[in-house]
């Protein structure tokens, strides 16, 4: 597709439950990024993929967060045993990589509309 598609738009879970968010990048885009925007509007980088391979996972809370990008499937971000502080908007972004494998300025990250996760 021509847009980054994130589902669901809003997800409500009780504390301790599992939450799973999905992202379909723009067709032809090789990079996928996940960001967390907390209530104070601050963005935190979580993880990025180059195709199905993890590229940078330095922002991921290792204990409860996991993510995948499998061929021919939407990417997913899963949170086990959710906590109240996981309440946030989770954005997915994708970008195109030229043949050199280097991000180019004329190929910026395109964002989805986000998934609002509410933990009660």
């Amino acid at each position: 597709g021509e847009e980054v598609a994130q589902t669901p738009k809003h997800l409500v879970r009780g504390e301790g439950q599992k939450a799973k968010l999905y992202c379909a990048p723009i067709k032809g885009h090789s990079y996928v990024f996940w960001y967390q925007q907390v209530l104070k509007n601050e963005f935190k980088f979580l993880i990025s993929f180059q195709n199905e391979n993890v590229f940078d996972e330095t922002g991921m809370p290792k204990e409860r967060f996991s993510a995948k990008c499998l061929p021919n499937s939407p990417c997913s971000l899963e949170i086990q045993a959710t906590k109240l502080e996981d309440s946030a908007v989770y954005f997915c972004a994708s970008s195109q990589i030229p043949g050199s494998g280097k991000l180019q300025i004329n190929q910026p990250q395109h964002f989805g509309d986000g998934t609002r996760l509410s933990i009660l």
């Binding site: 601050e42 963005f43 590229f55 940078d56 964002f111 509309d113």
Partner: protein
């Protein structure tokens, strides 16, 4: 580590006026990219303008222009002829351009701009 600072949490301006949003950053990278993103109440992230650090010429996109001062590590956004639809959160962001770099966006904390009729 790279940091992006937006020191003004909130600003307001009258319609048709000009407003400047400030942003400073800190990095040891020699090549990098800077961006301004707009986030209206709908929470969409919209790319407003971008600048390559190696380019001395300031980027311009219609009513939006930047003042890029590399030595001062400053990247301010000027909005001319402000419109009601410019009301939004504005985020300054940075990507390091070094080979093998993460490519992740590092964001400032954002600034809420309100355009009044």
């Amino acid at each position: 580590a790279q940091t992006v600072t937006q020191s003004q949490p909130e600003m307001s301006v009258q319609e048709a006026e000009t407003v400047t949003l400030s942003c400073t950053y800190d990095t040891s990278e020699s090549n990098y990219y800077l961006f301004w993103y707009k986030q209206p109440p709908s929470r969409q992230m919209i790319l407003v303008i971008r600048q390559e650090a190696y380019k001395q010429q300031n980027a311009t996109e219609n009513r939006f222009s930047v003042n890029f001062q590399k030595a001062a590590k400053s990247f301010s956004l000027k909005i001319s002829d402000s419109q009601l639809g410019d009301t939004a959160m504005y985020f300054c962001a940075f990507i390091a351009g070094s080979p093998g770099g993460s490519e992740k966006l590092v964001f400032g904390k954002g600034m809420k701009l309100t355009v009044n009729p």
